[in-house]
C-alpha cells in the first residue's frame, strides 16, 4: 500500500471544517460545564472562608431559595438542571453548525 499522509487530529488545533465545528461547540459547552461544576463550589468555598468554625457558613447558606438553603439548592437541583440545558444547547449549537456546513 502506498504510504499516505499522516492524519493530524488535535482537539486544540482542529484541521478540517468538520472537526473545527465540532470542537468549537464542544469547547463552548465544556467551558460552561466547568464554570457550573467547579465555579459554584468555589463560590461557596470563597464565601464561607471567613466562617470561624471552618464550616463554610456564609450569606449563601443563610439565603433561602424556594424554601431551600441556597447552597443546598444550587447543587441538588441547580447544577443538574444546568447540565440538561447544556446538553440541549449542545444539540442546538451542533444542528446550527452542521446545517451551515452542509450548505457551504
Amino acid at each position: 500500500m502506498a504510504k499516505r499522509q499522516r492524519v493530524h487530529v488535535n482537539f486544540f488545533v482542529p484541521s478540517s471544517d468538520g472537526i473545527k465545528a465540532e470542537t468549537s461547540v464542544a469547547k463552548t459547552i465544556i467551558l460552561l460545564w466547568f464554570l457550573l461544576s467547579y465555579g459554584i463550589p468555589v463560590l461557596i468555598w470563597l464565601a464561607g472562608l471567613p466562617d470561624p468554625n471552618g464550616l463554610g457558613e456564609s450569606f449563601i447558606t443563610n439565603t433561602r431559595f424556594l424554601g431551600f438553603p441556597l447552597h443546598y439548592w444550587l447543587l441538588a437541583q441547580g447544577c443538574t438542571l444546568g447540565y440538561i440545558l447544556l446538553c440541549k444547547l449542545y444539540c442546538v449549537l451542533w444542528d446550527a453548525k452542521s446545517n451551515r456546513l452542509q450548505k457551504s
Binding site: I19, G54, T80
Partner: protein
C-alpha cells in the same frame, strides 16, 4: 450449548434453594427496620420478577450480534430510557439517599458528579463512538492503537469495573431481599445471585434492552409515588415534593424534626451536616465530583449504549434524554434523605443504605407502597447487574477469546464462552458482596475511579489526539489502573492516606491520577513516535478518518473477527 445452559440453570436453582435453606436464620442487625417476612411486598416483588423473566424469555436470542448490542435500531427515547435504566442502579436508588442521609450537603457531590459527567460524554465521546460503530470499548481501543495488549488491558478493566460495580448492586439487592423475606443478609445475596443468573442466561441483551424501557417506568414510578404520601405525612401539601422538601431541610438546620424540637447539641450536629464543610473539606468535595464525572464519561457499559442507536444525531439526543430521565431520580433521592433525617435524626451508618425503606416505614407508609419502592430498587439493581455482566462477559468472550486467543472460533463457541463467564463473574461478585467493603455508593464510586483513570484518558486521547500511540496508551492505562487498584486495596486495608479523609481516597482518586494518566500517555507517545511501526500508524489514522468523517477512510478487512457483518 443446551447442556451448558441447563447446567447454569441448575446452578442458579441450587443457589435459590441454598438461600431458602438459610431462611429463618435470625438476621444480623444490618439495619433497623422491621424484621420478618412481609407478605404484600413479597407478592409485589415476585410479580415484578415474573414480568422481567417473562419478557426476557419471550425475546430469547440466538445470534451473537443480538446478544451483544441488540441490533442497531433504537431511538432517542428508547435509548435514553435504556441509558437511564442502566444507570439507575441500586447505587442511585438506595446508595445516594444513604450517603445524603449520612453526609448531608457533602453527599450532593455524588449527584452533580453523576449527572455532570454526561456533558463530557456528549462533548467528547458519544458521536465519535457511534461513527466507529463496532461492539465494545476494548475493540475500539484495540483497533485505534492497533495493539492486542491495549485491547487486553481495556478488556480487563471492563471486567474489573463490572465486578466492582456489581458488588455494590448485590449489596443493595441483598438488603432488599433481606428486608422482604426476612432473610439473613448472606442468604439473600445468594438468593439475588440466583435470580440475576437465571434472568441473564435466559435472555440476551436484546431482552435486556426491551426490558430496560419497561424497567425504567417501573423504577421511576416506584421511586416517585411514595414521595407524595411521605411529604404529606411530614406536613407538606404534597403537590411537588421535590420543591417542598426545601422547607424541611431548612427546618432540619434549626433542629425541627418529626419528634419535635431537638436539644441544642443534636441541633448543632444536624446543622453542621447541612453546612458545606461539615462532613468533608473543599479538596475532597472537588476530588469526588471530578472523579465521578470522568468516571461517568469513561464507563464502558454506558459508552456501549451509543453503538446501539441509529445514527450520531440519535446518539447525541439520547444523552440529553438519558440525563433528563436520570435527573428525575436525582431530584428525588435527596427528598428521601431529608425525610430520613426528619423521622430518624440520629441514625448512623447501619441505617444509611436502607434509608429509602426505613424512612417510609417510620413514617407509617403502608407496606404496599414500601413494597413497590423495594421492588423498584430491586429492579434498578437487577437491570444494572444485567448490563454489567453482559459488558464484562462480552469483554472476555469477544475481546480476549474470539479476537486474541482463538480468532477462528465460531459464533456459537463465543456465545458459549460469554455465557460461562457470565456465571463465573457472578460467582466472583458474590464473594465480594458477602463482605462489602463500604457503603453502596462508595463502592460504586470506586468503579468510577477505575473508569476515569484508565478508560477516559485513553479514549479521549484516542479520539482527539492523533499523536497518541500504543506505547503511550499502554503506559497511561497501566499507571491509571495501578494507582486506582492501590487506592482501593489501601481503603480496604484501612490505610489513612486512601481513606475518605486521606490525600488519595479510593472513591475520588481521579483528580490527581486522571490528569497524570493523560500526561503520561502524551509524553510516552511523543517519546516513542519514531519507533511506531508503519502499520499501526496507518491503522490508527484510518480509524481517526472514520471518527471525524475525514476523507480517505478505507473499510477494514476484518477477517480476524467472527462478528463482522
Amino acid at each position: 450449548m443446551k447442556k451448558a445452559l441447563s447446567i447454569t440453570l441448575l446452578i442458579s436453582i441450587l443457589l435459590l434453594l441454598a438461600s431458602s435453606a438459610a431462611f429463618g436464620v435470625a438476621g444480623e442487625e444490618i439495619y433497623q427496620v422491621k424484621q420478618g417476612f412481609k407478605l404484600v411486598p413479597a407478592i409485589i416483588m415476585v410479580a415484578l420478577l415474573c414480568i422481567y423473566v417473562g419478557v426476557g424469555f419471550l425475546s430469547k436470542v440466538s445470534s451473537t450480534s443480538g446478544y451483544w448490542v441488540a441490533g442497531q435500531g433504537i431511538g432517542k427515547f428508547g435509548n435514553g430510557a435504556a441509558i437511564a435504566s442502566d444507570w439507575m442502579s441500586a447505587a442511585s436508588f438506595m446508595g445516594v439517599a444513604g450517603l445524603l442521609y449520612l453526609k448531608g450537603w457533602f453527599g450532593l457531590g455524588y449527584i452533580i458528579g453523576w449527572t455532570g459527567g454526561y456533558v463530557l460524554l456528549l462533548c467528547l465521546i458519544a458521536a465519535q463512538i457511534r461513527r466507529f460503530g463496532k461492539y465494545t470499548i476494548p475493540e475500539f481501543l484495540g483497533d485505534r492503537y492497533n495493539s492486542h495488549a491495549v485491547r487486553l488491558i481495556a478488556a480487563s478493566v471492563t471486567v474489573i469495573i463490572a465486578i466492582t460495580y456489581s458488588t455494590a448492586q448485590f449489596k443493595g439487592i441483598g438488603l432488599i431481599c433481606g428486608w422482604i423475606f426476612g432473610m439473613d443478609y448472606k442468604a439473600s445475596v445468594f438468593f439475588a445471585a440466583g435470580v440475576v443468573l437465571s434472568y441473564m442466561l435466559i435472555s440476551g441483551m436484546s431482552g435486556v434492552t426491551r426490558n430496560q424501557q419497561i424497567q425504567y417506568v417501573v423504577l421511576i414510578s416506584a421511586f416517585l409515588i411514595p414521595l407524595w404520601v411521605l411529604l404529606r405525612k411530614a406536613g407538606g401539601s404534597g403537590i411537588l415534593p421535590q420543591i417542598e422538601y426545601g422547607n424541611i431541610i431548612s427546618g432540619l438546620m434549626e433542629g425541627k424534626t418529626a419528634a419535635g424540637q431537638l436539644d441544642p447539641e443534636a441541633t448543632t450536629a444536624l446543622r453542621n451536616a447541612y453546612l458545606p464543610w461539615g462532613k468533608g473539606d473543599f479538596y475532597h468535595f472537588i476530588a469526588l465530583v471530578f472523579t465521578l464525572m470522568v468516571g461517568t464519561a469513561g464507563l464502558p457499559h454506558i459508552m456501549i449504549r451509543f453503538y446501539t442507536v441509529k445514527n450520531e444525531d440519535v446518539a447525541r439526543r439520547s444523552v440529553l434524554w438519558g440525563l433528563f430521565f436520570i435527573g428525575l431520580l436525582y431530584w428525588s433521592s435527596p427528598v428521601y434523605a431529608a425525610m430520613g433525617r426528619f423521622w430518624n435524626p440520629a441514625g448512623g451508618k447501619a441505617v444509611a443504605d436502607v434509608i429509602i425503606l426505613s424512612a417510609p416505614e417510620r413514617a407509617g407508609l403502608g407496606s404496599a407502597f414500601i413494597g413497590y419502592l423495594a421492588s423498584g430498587a430491586l429492579a434498578a439493581g437487577l437491570s444494572t447487574v444485567a448490563g454489567l455482566l453482559v459488558a464484562g462477559a462480552s469483554a472476555i468472550a469477544h475481546d480476549w477469546y474470539a479476537t486474541v486467543f482463538k480468532p477462528d472460533c465460531s459464533d456459537r463457541q463465543a456465545l458459549l464462552v460469554g455465557r460461562i463467564f457470565t456465571a463465573v463473574l457472578c460467582g466472583v461478585v458474590i464473594l465480594f458482596a458477602l463482605n462489602p467493603p463500604a457503603l453502596i455508593a462508595q463502592i460504586v464510586a470506586m468503579a468510577f475511579a477505575i473508569a476515569g483513570n484508565t478508560i477516559f484518558p485513553v479514549v479521549v486521547l484516542g479520539i482527539w489526539y492523533s499523536g497518541s500511540n500504543k506505547y503511550g496508551a499502554l503506559a497511561g492505562m497501566i499507571f491509571g489502573l495501578g494507582m486506582t487498584l492501590m487506592a482501593m486495596f489501601g481503603w480496604m486495608a484501612k490505610i489513612p492516606m486512601f481513606g475518605d479523609q486521606g490525600l488519595l481516597p479510593a472513591t475520588s482518586s481521579a483528580l490527581i491520577v486522571c490528569p497524570l494518566a493523560f500526561l503520561i500517555n502524551i509524553l510516552v507517545s511523543n517519546a516513542t513516535n519514531e519507533k511506531l511501526d508503519e502499520e499501526s500508524a496507518e491503522r490508527g489514522d484510518n480509524i481517526l478518518r472514520k471518527l471525524h468523517n475525514l476523507p480517505g477512510y478505507q473499510e477494514e478487512d476484518d477477517g480476524t473477527n467472527a462478528f463482522s457483518r
